[in-house]
């Protein structure tokens, strides 16, 4: 299976301080499910930021979908970002938009016709249990409801990679199980899933999941899922 994500000697330093992440080298297989664990401050969010192209590394090489994204021209970033769904830790919903409009946002940005997005948005609202809250604005939603809207927004565009930062942190266990089931279903359809979490109970909920552990800016590979060295050119992502 080709590597959809390839990190090679990646380091990240904010300002002039010590490196937050050091010498990260791994390759994630297309269509796999990964949990990213580690204590607070280990660098999970920083790693995810580089994955969803919100942060360039200080050194090293990152390849997504077979292309080096570190040197990528800025004008090409939107095309890559549309292939990546993101669930932010702080949700980042647009407060003056309804739940419906927040979920529809990626489709509208991608230029989907208004008539064509009604059904998928309604289905997604129903899936996350918010069909009756379509017109509610985020400030009127509970933390768990906001999180579900954020997840629905991240997955509605059927991304090739889904990056989720603590996606179940504000929902009850039942809803957490449902959301993981959604991620698993997306994974079955071919989406590569990377979920950062503190919750070690989640790790056993997805049978096919691999675990990556970050500690003090270094990554370990307890399940042997991170292939290193990265795949060669003739095995590149297609």
């Amino acid at each position: 299976m080709a590597g959809i994500v390839q990190f090679e000697n990646v380091g990240l330093r904010y300002g002039t301080g010590a490196e937050t992440l050091s010498d990260l080298s791994f390759s994630l297989a297309q269509g796999s499910f990964y949990f990213l664990t580690g204590p607070s401050g280990a660098g999970k969010t920083s790693l995810l930021k580089m994955l969803y192209l919100s942060q360039r590394p200080s050194r090293g090489s990152i390849r997504l979908f077979g292309e080096d994204v570190v040197q990528l021209r800025r004008a090409r970033l939107p095309g890559f970002r549309r292939r990546i769904g993101v669930v932010f830790q702080d949700f980042r919903l647009i407060p003056h938009l309804s739940a419906y409009d927040n979920i529809a946002l990626p489709l509208r940005i991608a230029g989907v016709d208004e008539r064509d997005l009604v059904t998928p948005v309604r289905e997604m609202l129903a899936w996350v249990g918010l069909a009756d809250r379509a017109s509610a604005r985020p400030p009127t939603l509970s933390g768990g409801e906001q999180q579900r809207v954020a997840i629905a927004r991240a997955v509605i565009g059927r991304p090739e990679i889904l990056v989720a930062d603590e996606p179940t942190g504000n929902v009850d266990p039942d809803m957490a199980a449902r959301l993981l089931h959604l991620f698993d279903a997306l994974n079955t359809l071919g989406t590569t899933i990377i979920v950062a979490t503190h919750d070690i109970h989640l790790l056993s909920r997805v049978a096919s999941a691999n675990v990556m552990r970050l500690d003090r800016g270094q990554i370990s590979d307890p399940t042997g899922a991170l292939r290193y060295p990265p795949v060669g050119p003739n095995e590149a992502y297609a």
Partner: protein, 294 residues
């Protein structure tokens, strides 16, 4: 051209986007329209003074003997009527002469025995203006007491002054356009900072800079258009008021300062120009600001 769909427009909250910018633009549009109206009226006046009045001359027959005066006036009129380049010749009547002198001498000073020169208004064609020296020589040959008063010679400094004022008005308009653009830049930057979170989210969803810029350029252009229309309405009210006052003065020179219809069209187009200017400046400002982000 504004570019954002109705759904996209909702990405920014309802209401005015750029704080006091519409009112700043209203004030600037008010001043711009006044300056532009002044400049356009001055330009028109300078053109007409340099054209129509500049082709007028007055022939004065200054002879103490009334017989000589009348004889030379008749000879001058006949000669002028046959000269090439002379459009019209008209001798001022006694009543017109007295009307001219009344402001200075009053009714009591208008003595019938007061020796007044004969005045003949002559309108020249453009070609006649070129051969004024030869016309003057021909007139003085038949009327030795004739003096030729060339209106262009005393109008020239006035026309120069009016043209300078017109250029000054043009300079003020140019500075106002610059100030308007600067106000839009500040408003766009403020709006960007205010809505930074929305922009970040849009970027992470794959939005291009052009898509983000469209949201802001449309709203800022509409805000600018709103302010510009308010400012123009105020300016038109002032222009009409000044026009009425000038009309009441009844002076030929002051009355020559009028606003042609083309100037009115230009003034009415100013808000559209302001809106388009705001659109372009906002687009460039937003795109430049976004270019510095990832």
């Amino acid at each position: 051209m504004l570019g954002a769909s109705q759904a996209d427009r909702r990405l920014l909250p309802e209401g005015r986007l750029a704080g006091p910018m519409p009112w700043v633009i209203a004030i600037m549009m008010f001043l711009t329209a006044l300056a532009a109206a002044g400049g356009l009226a001055m330009g028109d006046a300078a053109h007409r003074l340099g054209g129509d009045l500049g082709r007028q001359v007055t022939v004065q027959i200054v002879a103490a003997d009334p017989g000589v005066r009348d004889r030379e006036a008749g000879a001058a009129q006949r000669d002028l009527a046959h000269e090439d380049g002379v459009e019209s010749v008209r001798r001022l009547g006694a009543d017109e002469m007295q009307a001219l002198l009344r402001p200075w001498l009053g009714d009591a000073g208008l003595d019938r025995d007061l020796p007044l020169p004969v005045m003949i208004d002559v309108d020249l064609t453009a070609a006649g203006r070129q051969r004024l020296d030869r016309i003057a020589s021909a007139v003085t040959a038949v009327a030795p007491h004739a003096r030729i008063d060339d209106h262009a010679s005393w109008l020239a400094p006035l026309v120069g002054l009016i043209r300078s004022l017109g250029l000054l008005a043009g300079g003020i308009v140019a500075m106002m356009i610059g100030a308007t653009a600067a106000a839009v830049v500040l408003a766009a930057r403020t709006a960007l900072n205010t809505h930074r979170q929305t922009i970040d989210v849009m970027h992470m969803m794959g939005s291009t800079d052009v898509q983000v810029a469209r949201l802001f350029q449309r709203r800022i252009a509409l805000d600018a258009l709103f302010g510009a229309v308010i400012g123009l309405i105020g300016a038109i009210a002032v222009i009409l008021g000044i026009g009425r006052r000038l009309g009441e003065i009844g002076s030929g020179l002051v009355g020559s300062v009028t606003l042609p219809w083309t100037a009115w069209v230009a003034l009415l187009a100013l808000p559209i120009f302001a809106g388009l200017l705001a659109l372009g400046v906002a687009r460039v400002t937003v795109q430049r600001a976004l270019a510095s982000t990832l």
